[in-house]
Amino acid sequence: MNSEIRDIFLEESRETLMNLESDIVSLEGHFDRELFNNIFRYVHTLKGSSGVAGVNSVYEFSHQLENLMDLVRSERIVVSETIIDLLLDSLDYFKLAIFGTDEEIEESEKMKEGLLSRIFDCITEGTGKAQGADEKRPAVAPARDERYFHIHVRFKEDIYENGIDPLRIIQDCCAQGDLLERAVDRSALPDFPQLDPEKCYLAWDLLIRTEKSRREMQDVFIFVRDDNEIVIEDVTEEYVKEKELPAADVKIGELLMDRGIINAEDYDSILEAQAQENKKFGEIVVERGYASENDMSRALKEQDRMRKKLESSTVRVDTVKLDNLMNLLGEIVIGQSSLSRIAEELEDETEFRLKNALHGLDRITREFQEQIMAIRMIPVGPTFEQFRRFVRDQAKASGKEISLVIEGRETELDKTVIEKIGDPLKHMIRNAVDHGIETAEERKERGKNPAGSIRLGAYHQEGYVYIEVADDGRGISLQRVREKAEVLGFLHEGDEASEARLLSFLFIPGFSTAEKVGDLSGRGVGMDVVRTNIESLRGSVEILNQEGEGTTVQIKLPLTLAIIEGMMVRVGKSIYIIPLLSIVESLRPAREALKTVEDKGEVVMVRNEYVTLVRLYDLFGIPADCLNPWEGLVVIVESGEEKVGILVDELMGQQQIVIRSLDVDMTRSRALSGATVLGDGRVALIIDVHGLVGELTRRQA
C-alpha cells in the first residue's frame, strides 16, 4: 500500500476511533439518537477510509457493523446493553486491526469472527421482535417540515480506486427519505466493447422528500465531496407553497425558540408585526422585551456562526506547511525589528514617519500571527473525551463508582500541545482514580456521595491555558508527606515547611514511589514525569489540595509555543532573552539587601523575602561588566512558587521573540530553552526560567 495513503488512514482512524469511543461510552448512559447517528457516521467513516487504504478486513467488518446500526437507526432493533457491549468490543477490534502488530492483527481476525456472529445474532433476534417495536413506536418526534431536495451527483471516473462503492452512497442518500424520482444519466457510458469496467460513468439526479436538513443530506456525501460533482438543492418551494419569508429571519426566530427565549406564539405574532412594521425580527424581539439586546446580539452571532459553518469548506493541510508559514512570519518579525533599530538611529523627520509606518506594520504582523496561530489551535474536547473510556475502565477495575465531568471542551490549544498532554493527563487521572477517590463505603462513611467525580476542565486566562484534573476524593495528607520527606531526608524533624513546600516534594522523582504508593493516600505516581512533560511545553504544574475534600492538579501552559514576548538583557557582550511572563520585577538592590544564607547560597532581600541570586555570568562562564548586584540589575523571575533573582548588566527593552529550537545536543544547561534572531541579526539565547530554577535546586541539593 502507498505509505502516504496508509499514514493518512492511520491518522484519520486515530481521530475517528477516539470520537467513536467517547460517543459509545456516552451512549451507555442514555440513548440519544443524535449520538447514535454520530457513531454510525464514524463507523461509516472508518469503512470509507479503510476501503481507500485497502484494509479489507476492517472494511468488511465495518460494513457488517454498519448494517446492524442501520437497523437500529431505522428502529427495527432497540439499543440494548448487548449492542453497546458489541460496539465497545468492535472498537477494540478496530484498534487491534488497525494499529496492532502483525500478531495482534492475526488475533484481531479471531475477534472479528466472534463479533460477526454476535452481529448476526443481534440482527436475527432484533428483527424478529421488530414488529413489536414497530407498534410501540409512537410519533415521538414532532412532525418536522418535510423538505424536498434535488440532488445531482456525478462521481469522478476513478472513484472506485478510493475503495468507495458509489452505489452505497446513492443508497445511503435515498435512505434518508422517500425517493420520488431517480434519473440515471448514462450518456457517458461507452459501448460495451469499449467499456472500462473499473471506471464510473454514471450520473444521478434524485428527488428526495425527507425530514432531514440540508446539512444532514450533505453529510451523506462526506467522503466524496471533494473532486466529485455533488449539488444538493433545496427545492421545497417548488413543491410546497408556503408563506414566503426571508430565510435568515426564519432562522433567527427558530434559534430564539430553540433557546426558549420566545415561544411559538411569540414567534407568530412577531412575524405578523414584522409584516406590518417592516422592521427586523430581532428589533421587534428586543422592543417587546422578549430578550435583551445582549441576548439578541449573541443569538445573531450564533446564527452567523452557524451559517458560516454551513457554508465554509475545510482544507486538510500538512502541519509542516503551517510550521513553514510560522517560520516565515518569524522572519518578518525579525526583519521588522531590524527596521525599528534603523528607525532608532535616524535623527531627522523621516524617523517619525518611519516609526509611524512601522507601528502600523507591527499591528498587522501581530494580527497575522494570531491568525496563523488560530489555524494551529484545535479544541481540547476530543482529547478529553477519550478519557471517558479510560475512567470507566479504571473505575471498574478498582471497584469504584466514578463519573467524569468534562468542562471547557471548546478551549483551543496549539496542536503540538494537544499531542503532548495526553500522557500527563492520563497519569493524573489514574492517580485520581487510584488514590484520590475513595471506595463507595468509605465515601458513605464520610457523608459523601458514594459515586466519586473527576472533573477534567480547560480554560483560557491571561495568555495562558489552564487544564485541571480535579477529584472530590480524600485529598493528600500533608502529615504523611511530611513523614515521608523526613524519612527520605528532605526535611529534618521539626523543620517548618509550608503546604506548598510539602506538596512540591511530590514532584521529586521517586518520592512517592519509593515505598508503597498507597502510603501517600494521594497522588505521586509519575508526578515528576508529568512535570517534566509539561515543562517541555514551557508550562507548569501546581497541586491544589484540600484534605478530605479532594485534589486539583492544575497545568498552566502558554497559548503558543512559537512566539513570546521577551525582555532582552545584557551580560557583558552577550544578550539573553527572559520571557516577559516569568518576570516579576527588576531592581537594583541596596548593598545591605544581599546576604549569604546557609542552604540557599547568595540571596537578595526583596520586599521582606529572600530570593536566591543567580549571577548569570557565573552560571554561564561569560564576562560581565557588573560583578556587584548593587551596580547592575536584578531581574526577579518566578517559576511556580519559586522566585529567583537574575543578575544582569542592564535591560535592553522588550520585544516579540520568535523561538528557534536550540539543538538539544548543544548544551547541557537546563537554563536555556532556545534561541532567537535579534533585529541586528545576532543570535540571542532564551533563558528557561523553570529550567534555571530547577538547575539551582539541583545544585543546592
Partner: protein
Amino acid sequence: MNDTATKNRNVTSEEDREELQQFVTFTIGSEIYGVDVLKVQEIIGITEITYVPNSLPFMKGVINLRGNVVPVVDLRIKFRMEEREYDATTVIIIVEVKSRSIGMIVDAVSDVIDIAVTSIHDTPHFSASIETDYIRNIGRKDDLLVIILNVDKILTAEEMETIRKKEAG
C-alpha cells in the same frame, strides 16, 4: 536524497571504472580535507557567533543563517589542533547532517575537485579510537592527499555522552 544519490553513483562506479566523485576541499593547517559536495549546503564567511554556555569545547556556538539558528563546530578544536584567530580566509561550511544544518569552521576553502572513485581508499588504521570515526576515506588526486570526512560523524553519540558525564560529575 543526497544519500541515495551518492549510493547510486557508487553502485554505477563498480561498473564504470572512470567514475568520479566530487568533493569540496578545504584546509586546516597544512592538511587538505574533503566533504562530499552533495552534503554541502553553502559556504559563508566568518560571522558573529553566539556562545552557548555549557556546550562541548569545539561547539563554538550558534549563528544566524537567514533567520535560522545553526550550530557551528570549530574543526581545529575538534581535531585537537592549536586554535587560531579567525581571519579573512576563515569560512564556515554549512553541511547537512541528518537533515539539520551544521556549520564547520575551517581555515580556508580551496576547491571543488573530482576524485576517481578508484583512488579513494579506506582509512589506514590510525587507531581504533572513535575519534577518527569522522574520517571516511583517504582520497588521492594527482599527488594531493585528501582526507575525506564523514560529516554525519562529526558529532558522535559517544562524545555527547562524555560531556554529559563530565557535567554531571
